[in-house]
Symmetry: C2
Subunit: 298 residues, 2 copies
DNA sequence: CTCAGGCCTTCCGCTCAACGGAAACGCCGG
DNA sequence: CCGGCGTTTCCGTTGAGCGGAAGGCCTGAG
């Protein structure tokens, strides 16, 4: 396309622009964006203008940009996350009510944990901007849990790609990581003492689905004092069991499934069902199924 | 770019693909996507492949696609929505605990309401897939509230663009809409009886921010029986007042502001502050402010 | 077994949308 | 009035994107 262009797709560049915004810098000027995504100014200008036109970026009165609310539109249509989120929320709330610290629900995405729900309190130990979002698997307790129950190839990949060491206690090296993962599998929980921030400790447990596969992890971020993690672990384990039960109920194939529940679990299971079957099963008793079938034969 | 191309940007086409997915059809095959976005198959194939590579689309074992969890990453970085969401959640939960029906938090986006938070129960009157997401302003109670307090030009635009009539009771025509909006402004709440679905009724109230501007709307979806909406209105009004108070507290410029709160309100206010000042104000008492200032002079 | 019909994937020559250096613009503070 | 900084516009160049067409793969009918 252009001279110096690295032959990279436009979409990728647009995403580079969106990536420039993170929890620590939610507002950026054009120049800052160009800088952060290392692109020529004029190119950035064009990309940004287009993103703004599409509503993915919004401009503030002082000309700085922020990510647009429209991004929520797409996120809220994501089937897997939505269903799991809504099923898990009451359980997260129960944990949060007791622990009174950041409580999160994370799923595996690439080499990172992606937190799709977070309950916080303003007096939490750690600044909320430092947690949440996307975090490399080996530095977060939730990530470690997910990695411990993921395919072995993923572990190889993650080790090959390496990860940042935020503090002195962050796990370093493939062997140490593998050992940690073995422990996590044996224990059924993960504790990460100061991996991301000296003063915080992550505690997480896996959330099983009806097929015995680990779908997600739930965890809390507490103060990294010497206190025993045991109470938190017990709370989390109970909550995880509750979510698993909710997932199983949602998966009942007899039409009693709750809409969002079914949506979530189907997507997460990686079911081979198509939308129609999906709706047929979940609206089975509402009578709507016949209309759907009629409209869309298969 | 190509022969028959309408001279449309690539990003727009990518978004057309993402738009093809909605609440009613969360899983689509390549052909269905091509169809829904009216694009040639081979073009769609390329677009979809790239979206998948970027994680915005995910492929199921049966080759159908769904929106990828990665979309959550961007949504969760959106400053405005996140802060408002977390501030509002306890209040939404309070309403939801009493009403036991869909409770939503919506913001204005284009000619639609965008619901950025939703609390549901599986025994809610209306199928959850039919609510939430993006809805034209004049057909939703939350949308009507937002429109009633929006700039007059927006009302003109919305009327000019028209909107779908889902049921026989959906508002039709500019004059009727303007009259309805006047009532809503006078009453302080909106009731939408069967505008979207015969059997459901939306009730919504505005959420004010510290500057007296309406930032959002909160609402519930209940059965469209003859019951008085008064109890729900009172609950919603109380919750809205609570959220306003939370927003005001969050906006205190003395450094006592909670991180996410401030982030939300700043973005919503359309403040002319930049990220640095923003962090300075909210981390004022944590001592971090000095480091920030040092790093980023201004 | 063959054949027809969906659906998906790959190929490839033709363009124009995207590219980005450079120059003009607008807004400060001095 | 001027210099500095961030933003916006201009414009010649070019390869990323385009999409028709052909080739695979599967399934279900004959």
């Amino acid at each position: 396309m252009a001279r110096g262009s690295a032959g990279e797709s436009v979409l990728h560049k647009h995403l580079r622009v969106l990536q420039a915004f993170d929890a620590l810098r939610p507002f950026l000027t054009l120049t800052e964006i160009a800088d952060a995504s290392s692109m020529p100014l004029s190119t950035t200008h064009r990309l940004v203008a287009e993103l703004e036109r599409e509503g993915l970026l919004e401009r503030m009165p002082d000309r700085s940009y922020r990510l647009g609310v429209r991004l929520w539109e797409f996120a809220s249509r994501t089937p897997g996350a939505l269903g799991l989120r809504e099923l898990a929320r009451p359980w997260l709330a129960a944990v949060h009510a007791r622990v009174r610290q950041h409580t999160q629900l994370g799923v595996l995405n690439g080499h990172d944990v992606l937190f799709i729900e977070r309950l916080s309190t303003r007096d939490a130990v750690l600044n909320a901007t430092l947690i949440g979002g996307r975090t490399p698997l080996p530095v977060s307790s939730s990530g470690l849990v997910l990695l411990a129950h993921a395919a072995p190839e993923l572990v190889d990949e993650v080790i090959a790609a390496d990860w940042p060491a935020y503090t002195a206690t962050t796990i370093r090296g493939g062997d140490t990581l593998r050992a940690k993962l073995r422990h996590i599998r044996a224990d059924g929980f993960a504790v990460a003492d100061g991996y991301i921030h000296e003063e915080s400790r992550g505690i997480a447990v896996p959330v099983m689905g009806p097929h015995g596969i680990v779908y997600a992890a739930i965890g809390v971020v507490v103060a990294n004092d010497g206190a025993s993690p045991q109470p938190a672990i017990e709370l989390l384990t109970m909550a995880a069991a509750g979510i698993t039960r909710a997932l199983e109920e949602a998966y009942l194939p007899d039409g009693t499934a709750a809409p969002d529940a079914a949506r979530g679990i189907r997507a997460l299971v990686g079911s081979s069902q198509r939308s129609l079957d999906y709706f047929a099963s979940l609206e089975g008793k509402s009578g709507l199924v016949h209309e759907w079938s009629a409209v869309n034969g298969r």
